[in-house]
Symmetry: C2
Amino acid sequence: MSQATHPRDGSLEEAPPCRNTKRRLLDAAERLFAERGFEGTSLRALTQAAGTSISAAHYHFGSKEELLRATLERRVAPMNASRLERLDAAERAAAGAPLSVETLVGAYLDPLFEERATHRGSLSDVRFVAARLYSDPPELVSALKRELFGEVSRRFLDALARALPECSRDELGLRFQFGVGCMVHVMSGQIEDAPHAQGRDPLPDDVVHHALVRFLSAGLRAPAGDPR
Amino acid sequence: MSQATHPRDGSLEEAPPCRNTKRRLLDAAERLFAERGFEGTSLRALTQAAGTSISAAHYHFGSKEELLRATLERRVAPMNASRLERLDAAERAAAGAPLSVETLVGAYLDPLFEERATHRGSLSDVRFVAARLYSDPPELVSALKRELFGEVSRRFLDALARALPECSRDELGLRFQFGVGCMVHVMSGQIEDAPHAQGRDPLPDDVVHHALVRFLSAGLRAPAGDPR
DNA sequence: GTCTATATGTTGATAGAC
DNA sequence: GTCTATCAACATATAGAC
């Protein structure tokens, strides 16, 4: 009987066993976590969608929670890097002068809508992923949120404070968060699911994008209220 | 042997076996669904928190999904009724003249913040419940959303269209949704969880409330963009 | 690195006593 | 109306062959 079942030699051709399982897992996780949430997605369904097995997921990520973390991180980190690049570039160009509110809103929003345009129709959509940071269990995502968004929030808030010097820091912090809320709402597909949008053709992305920029810029610039 | 086990007579005193189990179930569901989501909350944990049993929940509501529905409906329906009352009152007072954007934003937001003030510290908080409409599985909540918010959305959009006649209907629909997004974000406690708010005292409710009214009013009134 | 098989616990729902 | 006991299905995670 042939006693040789192990690979004959540690040769170069050693079949690519890993193929791209890790990437496929991340792709499936992105889609399913986005659609049905973390708790709503079983590792079984996820690994089946990725064409692999539960144990492969554990081999690559260790646990379901770590898979979520990796999924969010893969998309959010480059997006935030891009936001900071744009902010840096705009500040260099302005040579010390305060930036306009529109410039800041654009630097924050554009990377999101560009990623969407790039991956149109594909499985990967950062927007839904990012939105999940705001509905998945806080004990899982709030540390990650601080870690991934800490610097971006700080830098943009500082720049906003220079653009709107008459606005108090507290008020500015609130307005920034209001803006994030709008964004998340759009990202998570609520526009299409709105009661009065049922059965109508969804508006093109760039229409939504520009409407959002106008809305946020105007909101951020709102006149200060009397302290009463 | 005494053959009588059934109640002797259909008397008036028949012990109150139901007590208020149904209400306690709704209270627990409200708190737990809000904190950990629908999929993240087990019926076991929920009924235990309510001081009753799983079978009681099935007796009163039939299924976990129906319990969610009842939970959302109990708070959202009266809140939306209150919104419509305010809108009606304002329209009567205006005697045909268009309402101001601030009036409309107030009529929409005030009932939410008032409910919050009323139940401060209690288990029941509409705000989180309503926010769940936007993160729980769409197949569960989107019909309910249409049902509960259909008329309110329509009425407020119509009133907004009269307040902002120069704004296209599509743009107005988008801005309305942007506003809902801000609101949901605030309701779901994201303000306190924001990266730059960590470790700081949370701002008082009425500060947030008035900042939100200013932000939304300004956003809704944003100048129209060029169609490009 | 990937699989099958399994361990161990939890889920929503139901049956039936009282 | 409410309980205890139980169900079948499903969850995440692990062990070990290859």
